[in-house]
Symmetry: C2
Subunit: 212 residues, 2 copies
């Protein structure tokens, strides 16, 4: 698949590397072309860098990994340009600047706020409950058990693509229902942050949804 | 420990059985003494049944497992009488009558609403992310991995007791911080319900917090 990764922080850069290993074509999108090219060069020879509009134009899937605070993600999504025919995978969490609380929840979610900006474009929430630290080859597995990649959305075809990408990234996809269920996945990510940072447990941890 | 189990539905009756196996003394509390005695008799010879006030008076730990809808839990907590010197473990979720949504969240939680009614009495949130189906001997373990029992609260001594009871019930306790973090544990329980009931995955499932 041709994937545009928007936001090349901890999560974006590691997901990009995992997707490259799985054989996907990656373009890093940034506001400035030079910055995008510089980041892409650090991630690997085959990674391209481009301004938002160009990165998006050549991609089937847009992976949004930008920070939430200061309206960053919502501003960026509006800058991406026409997304008709593509799917958006939202990896964000609506974190306060210090990460230690969510700035919205219960009646909405960052996934739903993004979807409102791009009507008609399928949005899937995914990867938001997984720490960047475990988005590394081999680190997705704890004691023989894969970390779970929960995902939710309203478009079945887009969800199937997200599930494939979760699997390609080394995680076990678990369908969490409709996009509105991001209202449960985003608090779960904050729980992860509370234990890892608030209580000092660290980020080398992951949730697993165990089934029999 | 002397434990009063308030509410003898799926969760209360199974936790009672697990605590009995771990050697604790259980009293089932109900509004009507006869009903309490009848339920207790079904759970085992050593289980007592008593009206709320009597069940609570003889207990160190009060386990609240009543339904949330129609204000049931909050009404019951107010009926329990003086809880000074005891600790309350809140296993509830603020579920709508059909279970498929939470009736509160983000700015509060059922745990915090309970705590407001009993100032000075330590409240610990626990067991709310675990389905009753896996509260059975042997079912706490999936493929050699224990299901996690997240707990949170503001009183360290009460949390230590809750952690011990989670362990005694066969789960792996994971400290999730302050009581306010029930705002993240309750949505996680709803996520579990969405996957199990909404998507038909069933309740023979559990979350595990994996660490390295």
């Amino acid at each position: 698949m041709k994937i545009a990764v928007i936001g090349a922080g901890n999560v974006g850069s590691r997901l990009a590397k995992l997707f490259i290993l799985a054989g996907h074509e990656i373009t890093i999108g940034s506001r400035e072309q030079e910055k995008a090219i510089a980041i892409a060069a650090q991630l690997g020879e085959t990674v391209k860098g481009a301004k938002y509009a160009d990165a998006v134009a050549s991609a089937d899937v847009i992976i949004v990994t930008t920070p939430w605070a200061n309206n960053t993600t919502l501003d960026v999504v509006q800058e991406l340009g026409d997304l008709t025919g593509k799917i958006v995978i939202d990896c964000t969490n609506p974190l306060a600047p210090d990460y230690m609380s969510n700035t919205l929840g219960y009646t909405t979610s960052s996934a739903e706020e993004i979807a409102k900006l791009i009507p008609g474009v399928p949005v899937v929430k995914a990867f938001n409950t997984i720490f960047a630290e475990v988005m590394e080859p081999g680190k997705q597995i704890f004691d023989g058990q894969k970390a779970t990649g929960f995902y939710c959305g309203d478009d079945a075809a887009a969800k199937a693509i997200a599930a494939k990408l979760i699997e390609d990234a080394g995680f076990e996809p678990v369908d969490a229902g409709v996009l509105q269920n991001a209202r449960y996945l985003e608090p779960m990510a904050q729980l992860n942050i509370q234990i890892a940072y608030g209580l000092g447990g660290g980020t080398n941890v992951a949730f697993r949804y165990m089934r029999r």
